[in-house]
């Protein structure tokens, strides 16, 4: 049963009510989530195509909004989709082709200092899952449990990927891999 049919059934079940609980408007969801998705894509793939990747993920959410909006956490769904698209080689290539074909010059979004640019460049060389875990954990300031729920993996898996990512980054940055206490 699709979401529209469920809405209709719910409305018919409450004929006297002027209230029909409808899905959250996509436009509002878009405004709230977009910047985070661009940052996520920016952390995981080339700055030149980060916006395009985020837009593609939002386009999928837009097409499937009646279903996506019914999820308990639609934001997690679109973050996972963005994270997957951003590390997909084929999708990166296609996004780059689209970016090159655009008539206007596209400024890479989110200019960073050299150190921070280098940091994200290193993140992008990590195995895909490690990079996704690092990006979600730090960019969204998520807990391990939230990262696990977003990527639909176990918390143990997230801890392992996060630990390995930190060790790998520490070796290259010449830093300690420990987690600082706030």
């Amino acid at each position: 049963v699709n979401a529209n049919a469920r809405h209709e059934a719910a409305a018919q079940a409450r004929p006297s009510s002027p209230f029909v609980q409808e899905a959250r408007p996509f436009e509002e969801f878009y405004r709230t989530e977009l910047a985070g998705l661009v940052a996520l894509a920016r952390g995981l793939c080339s700055p030149a195509i980060a916006e395009d990747i985020a837009q593609e993920a939002m386009l999928v959410a837009y097409r499937r909004w009646p279903d996506v909006s019914e999820l308990d956490h639609p934001e997690a769904w679109v973050r996972r989709t963005t994270a997957n698209m951003a590390v997909s080689q084929l999708r990166r290539k296609l996004a780059e082709i689209r970016a090159m074909r655009r008539s206007r010059d596209v400024e890479p979004v989110g200019r960073l200092s050299q150190d921070h640019e280098s940091f994200w460049a290193m993140v992008r060389t990590l195995p895909h899952r490690q990079a996704q875990v690092v990006a979600l954990y730090y960019l969204y300031d998520m807990s391990v449990a939230d990262v696990a729920a977003t990527l639909e993996v176990s918390e143990g898996s997230v801890k392992v990927h996060l630990s390995r990512a930190r060790e790998s980054l520490a070796r290259r940055l010449g830093a300690s891999s420990g987690q600082e206490q706030p």
Binding site: F19, A35, D72, L94, D115, Y138, T150, R166
Partner: protein, 361 residues
């Protein structure tokens, strides 16, 4: 420096950089155009072309990714359907006279308005619940426009009523937290009336602001629904007009109204209309929405009906205990509902106009 710290700093800089540069409104327009282009391409090309497009799109978009729901979150909690302590006061028509009454008990010394007056435009209670401020709105004049309305304060302990001054349609009103003044709108400008003497003090607002509702937080911040630079907006300022801020700006073809602070001053609820208030050419959809006091985290709490209409809109009132009552006139009878964390619960009773909570004793 540890990796953890470097990662946090790099993340903070990236978030800030993206926040500065990303323009959601522009990108949303682009998203719609992109979707339209792809739909058109899929429609007008031949079978072979459609097949080719389908292959390309199939490769470029994760249509085949399943939308697996995440583990269920906290179950929705229905709010109690009856107020405890605080009383919801509604407008009623009684033998040709429009009055205000509590849902559980009549209001003492309530004002009554004869039916040829449009009714109460807005009303609200002082923090101690002993004084009622209300506005009436003038009828439509033969030469166009509306006659001025009136701003009153009534002492509910003895029935003494005083007109503070005049107001202009739609005559919103709001008490200051200390009960010393009532804000309303007079010919497009905000006016602060002394609640005892009625002395008016103009409150300056930026050019281009048009306000249709007023509310004041416990800490004295005014929130208004209206327009700024012709965009449907939530606007905030001090009771003296200081620090005017556009908290939330939506499109020019939308409408925001009835903005109300939550009792803790952390959120604002308001009514959203998908078309302009004066637009009779299209059906409007109404919803109750909520944003944080910083203008972030906007979300829809409930859809409250549709109509192709002017002058009919839902209204809402936030109880001191955190429940949000919504009255929708978009059906034969105006129903009252409370909005909880994720659900609606019907309340006993109905109303024909504005609603407000009277603080319990």
């Amino acid at each position: 420096m540890s990796v953890d710290r470097q990662a946090r700093e790099a993340s903070a800089q990236l978030r800030a950089a993206v926040q500065r540069e990303v323009e959601p409104m522009t990108m949303f327009t682009e998203l719609r155009a992109r979707r339209s282009r792809r739909r058109a391409a899929a429609t007008v090309t031949g079978v072979a072309a459609v097949a080719a497009v389908a292959v390309v799109l199939g490769l470029t978009t994760p249509w085949r990714e399943d939308a697996h729901p995440l583990p269920a979150g906290t179950p929705s909690v229905r709010t109690p359907s009856r107020p405890v302590g605080d009383e919801l006061v509604v407008e009623r028509l009684d033998n040709g006279v429009i009055t205000l009454t509590g849902l559980r008990a009549p209001l003492p010394h309530t004002p009554g308005l004869v039916r040829d007056i449009t009714g109460f435009a807005a009303f609200g209670f002082s923090a101690d619940g002993d004084r009622l401020a209300y506005t009436t709105v003038g009828g439509v004049r033969p030469q166009g426009g509306r006659a001025d309305g009136e701003v009153h304060v009534r002492d509910l302990t003895n029935g003494k009523d005083q007109q503070l001054g005049s107001c202009s349609f739609p005559c919103p009103m709001a008490w200051t937290p200390d009960g010393s003044a009532v804000l309303s709108i007079q010919r497009g400008s905000v006016v602060r009336f002394d609640s005892v003497t009625g002395t008016p003090t103009p409150v300056a607002t930026p050019a281009g602001w048009t306000l249709t509702s007023l509310d004041i937080s416990p800490s004295g911040i005014v929130v208004a629904a209206g327009r700024a630079a012709d965009r449907a907006s939530l606007l905030t300022m001090g009771v003296d007009g200081s620090h005017p801020t556009v908290l939330l700006a939506l499109g020019t073809s939308e409408e925001l109204s009835v903005a109300r602070w939550s009792p803790d001053g952390r959120s604002i609820a308001f009514v959203h209309r998908t078309t302009r208030a004066e637009d009779t050419t299209a059906e409007a959809a109404f919803s109750v929405r909520r944003v944080t006091s910083a203008g972030t985290g906007a979300r829809s709490l409930a859809d409250v009906g549709r109509c192709q209409c002017v002058g009919i809109e839902p209204t809402l009132a936030w109880a001191p205990d955190g429940r949000l009552a919504v009255a929708s006139p978009l059906s034969d009878t105006t129903h009252l509902y409370t909005v909880g964390a994720a659900d609606l619960a019907p309340m006993d009773g109905d109303a024909v106009g504005p609603i407000a909570w009277r603080p319990g004793g």
